[in-house]
Subunit: 246 residues, 3 copies
């Protein structure tokens, strides 16, 4: 299960049935849950960034794809899934079943809830606080420096069920309310009210999210998306969502 070309520290703690791909490296300060698969050409538990003293903890049944780099000093719940070429720095505290798409760049010192999904090529700045069931689409940046460069960092807060469409940025210190949708190619400089849609640069109020219709010929509301989109979520969670709207 550990490819003979992989370099795995004897001090790393690997659960049962962990697979490590060819040309991958697993450092000492690493705890990997059972059933987890690490692809080829990865570097896991990169010790740099001085005495964190904290290990990298990857939950059970996770899947880290090839060419990814995880530093020591972060924790991920069970069922983490990543694309390729992902970089995750120290101080990332994530819940269960996080998905990080290809080319994701998680700068560390941030918190992420359960069942959150990052599509390809997102950049999560330090001090971001991201809730549960959040969706972030490609080329989105969560910033943190209000007057770059400076020593002041104001992280972004994304509440549960937020969706941020492609190529948008959230400016430092902004809070995006529960269930809000950020339209594509937007720059968000002010807090966003729960269950609303904002878009543009700077982003402005567009409508209540529930007024957007699904393009399925049935005029169902497209938001809250948990009303109709259930792929990959646990049965119990979906049941709860369905009850909410019945």
């Amino acid at each position: 299960m550990i490819h003979p070309s992989a370099i795995v520290s004897p001090l790393a703690q690997l659960g049962d049935n962990v697979q490590i791909g060819p040309f991958s490296i697993v450092h000492a300060d690493t705890v990997i849950g059972s059933g987890t698969v690490i692809g080829s050409h990865c570097e896991i538990g990169h010790p740099e960034q001085s005495p964190t003293s904290r290990p990298l903890v990857i939950g059970a049944d996770s899947h880290i794809r090839s060419h990814s780099v995880f530093y020591a000093g972060s924790t991920f719940g069970a069922g983490l899934v990543t694309g390729h070429h992902v970089t995750v720095r120290e101080g990332t505290e994530a819940g269960r079943n996080l998905q990080i798409g290809t080319l994701g760049d998680i700068q560390g010192h941030c918190s992420i809830g359960d069942y959150t999904r990052f599509h390809s090529n997102v950049n999560i700045g330090q001090h971001s606080e991201i809730g549960n069931f959040v969706w972030i689409f490609p080329y989105v940046v969560l910033t943190n420096d209000p007057h770059p460069p400076s020593d002041i960092q104001l992280g972004v807060t994304l509440e549960d069920f937020v969706a941020i469409a492609t190529m948008s940025i959230i400016l430092p210190g902004v809070r995006v309310g529960r269930g809000a949708l950020i339209g594509a190619h937007s720059s968000v400089s002010k807090d966003v009210v729960d269950d609303t849609v904002v878009a543009g640069s700077p982003a402005r109020f567009v409508c209540r999210a529930e007024t957007l219709k699904l393009k399925n010929g049935l005029s169902t509301s497209a938001y809250p998306w948990r009303r109709h989109f259930h792929r990959g979520y646990p049965e119990a969670v979906v049941k709860e969502w369905l009850a909410e709207f019945s």
Copy 2:
């Protein structure tokens, strides 16, 4: 020609004079045409995404640069050229002489014509249909979900000779007409007429493409670009283009 550190499945079908670089992996379901060069640290024919039953086919005289990942279940004509750190998922059907720049992220289930060029860091969403001689510049995203997240996917269509400038997105279901130019930093929400220029967010009509002048001191029209730009195209094709404008 196959570096001793490379891991090549005995079931992979390699043409004559194929080169495989150090620390690269070639899986079983892979057919690589003669004269093709694979750089270092690549993973070619990645089997994941379940029984595609279809192999990865790379045409002759291709060049895949280092740290690139290609899944099984895609087909590329002869003369494919890529940059580094490229990811290509299953279901990509591409013609001859496709170029994919560094950090390109091709999400699969898409079709791409002949002699099309992607510059660095483009993201091609599933269900995109891309013609011949198309140019896509850095940080362009072809999207597909009209109300993310949802189960509805409306791919983008780019007709022949389209050029999309840097950091633009094309929204789901949009068709960009033959020879159209999308200005930089645009968000395109409506179909674009052949041989026109649109720009802005949302993108609006700017002018007929032929009215843009080349900055060469001669006031030649900059578009259609095939009038003056011929680098890397076959002689026979260029001859045809020159005849069109003589």
Copy 3:
């Protein structure tokens, strides 16, 4: 110090105490200064792009992180620092203590001064001329083709102390004056006056940079940033800056 799995050409010139990580490749035409650390899975001195006849020169005490690719034919002063998954093409001439963040894509044939910092995921087009103490934030592109695709390349010029915020593009041939700030999510089509702030798409004048206040409760000017931000610069330089504002 050279990992046994690394492949280092006997023709490469390595200074004292150079470290080369696992699965990395160092080609013949490479000169690496003493004390430099190369991470895992790198390719250094990539010979392609025909007889440059010029080597890759990396100054002393540099640190190139994993999965990075540097071509032959470029020169870097001492103290180069990179993130992961960086690509640097031939013809890049950089001063001392350049920082290139994760996923940086330096297209080569460009010049970069001393103590300049690129955050993650920047794209530096050919013929860019970048001064000293410049800051470029994530997803910024310096373009060069005024009517893509064409054979005409007009590089961007960034003077000393310029800062370009996240997800902005600078259009071909534009000069950004000393100490100017480009706001986030901007598209800059005209030259920018020294010590001013521009923003938007297309970018317009916002204010004199010195009128922006630091969010530190003290109403200090946020710009010029060298007044208050000193992290990572040599003591002598900071002393000079402090004298300038005392």
